[in-house]
């Protein structure tokens, strides 16, 4: 099996995640799509690691996971705060910057 199939899979998942970020309105779903994009990137890292025969890619992937965990913690806290103040988790409702 061609190992670059993993990379194609990674690209497809990344793209789907990007669409989700742009299209979905529920902040939690948007967040999950971000996680999907990060995971797709991780898959690419792991595959690169295998292609190059060293562990640097896996280390990068590990760091990505930690950063993603941090991001989730802060992001979900933001969502909770937003929900508390406006009783809605829709990202379109937080649009005071418009015009």
């Amino acid at each position: 099996m061609d190992i670059s199939n993993y990379l194609y899979l990674s690209a497809i998942l990344f793209t789907i995640g990007a669409i989700g970020v742009v299209v979905r309105r529920n902040a939690i779903v948007v967040f999950m799509c971000v996680e999907l994009m990060l995971n797709a990137a991780n898959l690419a890292f792991v595959t690169f690691s295998r292609i190059n025969g060293n562990l640097d890619g896996q280390v990068a992937s590990f760091f990505t996971m930690v950063v993603a965990a941090c991001e989730v913690v802060v992001g979900l806290a933001i969502i909770v705060t937003m929900y508390r103040s406006r009783r809605s988790a829709s990202v379109d409702d937080a649009s005071l910057l418009k015009r």
Partner: protein, 260 residues
């Protein structure tokens, strides 16, 4: 499963079978996640994608990452997601009707472009090269190899990332902390509120549930002195669910007792 996944990396065919079995499922799950109306469904599908990825990691000689993926992502992060979903409202269905003009069309166009460019680049980049494989790097074990990297080459990044983690935890606490804007309601205040209310009927508090002497449970209404059940004595939820038990059946029947 773990052993199977560890084995498939060694030979071509099993890995191909695994890939062609899991990858379409992952893509379908991703699409489903994109289109699911309920956030919970999205979360479950994402959990499945993450597990698939964990299996891929293990198949790709990244045992440690695979385990971490399961523990951290599927275990911690996804649970956090579900927890917040529950907090925000599990039943809130998301409307999928787009209300920003041209957003969806532009997104899909951009996505197609992105996917096309990425695959084209991957196709070009990999041309005429074969993978080295991690057999050499993982000679002392994957975990040991990663540890060596982390605590030598990447030790500075490791320290920084730990600082980030602590900062994020503090940040989350600060964000989630809500300032109390009214003084805490104490029993005295509740009592005053009852007496100030529209009627004095409930001034002494709601009647307790249960029937004296024969049966007392939360799902049986109390009886009023005239023998009728008191509607305010049980929770409205129980009544609505139909879990209320008629209290009349437990009422005393003194005449019969005298006769017996």
């Amino acid at each position: 499963m773990l052993n199977f996944a560890l084995e498939v990396g060694k030979t071509h065919t099993p890995e191909a079978v695994l890939f062609w079995f899991l990858a379409p499922l992952a893509v379908l799950s991703a699409l489903g996640m994109l289109m699911a109306k309920k956030a919970v469904h999205s979360a479950l599908l994402l959990a499945w994608i993450m597990i698939s990825l964990a299996i891929f990691y293990i198949a790709e000689d990244a045992l440690f990452l695979g385990i971490v993926q399961v523990v951290v992502y599927t275990g911690a992060v996804m649970m956090l997601f579900l927890f917040i979903l529950m907090l925000v409202g599990v039943d809130t269905a998301d409307s999928l009707v787009e209300n920003i003009k041209g957003q969806r069309a532009a997104s899909i166009a951009a996505a197609i472009g992105l996917a096309g460019l990425l695959t084209s680049l991957i196709g070009r980049a990999n041309m005429g090269r074969s993978a080295v494989g991690l057999t050499g790097a993982n000679a002392n074990g994957n975990v040991q190899g990663l540890a060596e990297q982390l605590f030598t080459k990447y030790v500075w990044a490791f320290e920084v990332i730990s600082a980030l983690l602590i900062t994020a935890a503090l940040g989350a606490m600060v964000l989630a902390h809500s300032q109390r804007i009214r003084s805490r309601t104490i029993q005295r205040d509740q009592s005053i509120a009852r007496f100030r209310g529209s009627s004095l009927a409930e001034a002494a508090g709601l009647p307790g549930s249960g029937v004296y002497a024969r049966h007392n449970a939360v799902d049986v209404p109390a009886l009023l002195p005239d023998g009728t059940p008191a509607p305010t004595s049980i929770s409205a939820v129980l009544e609505a669910r139909g879990d209320m038990i008629e209290s009349g059946t437990f009422a005393l029947q003194p005449k019969e007792e005298e006769e017996n």
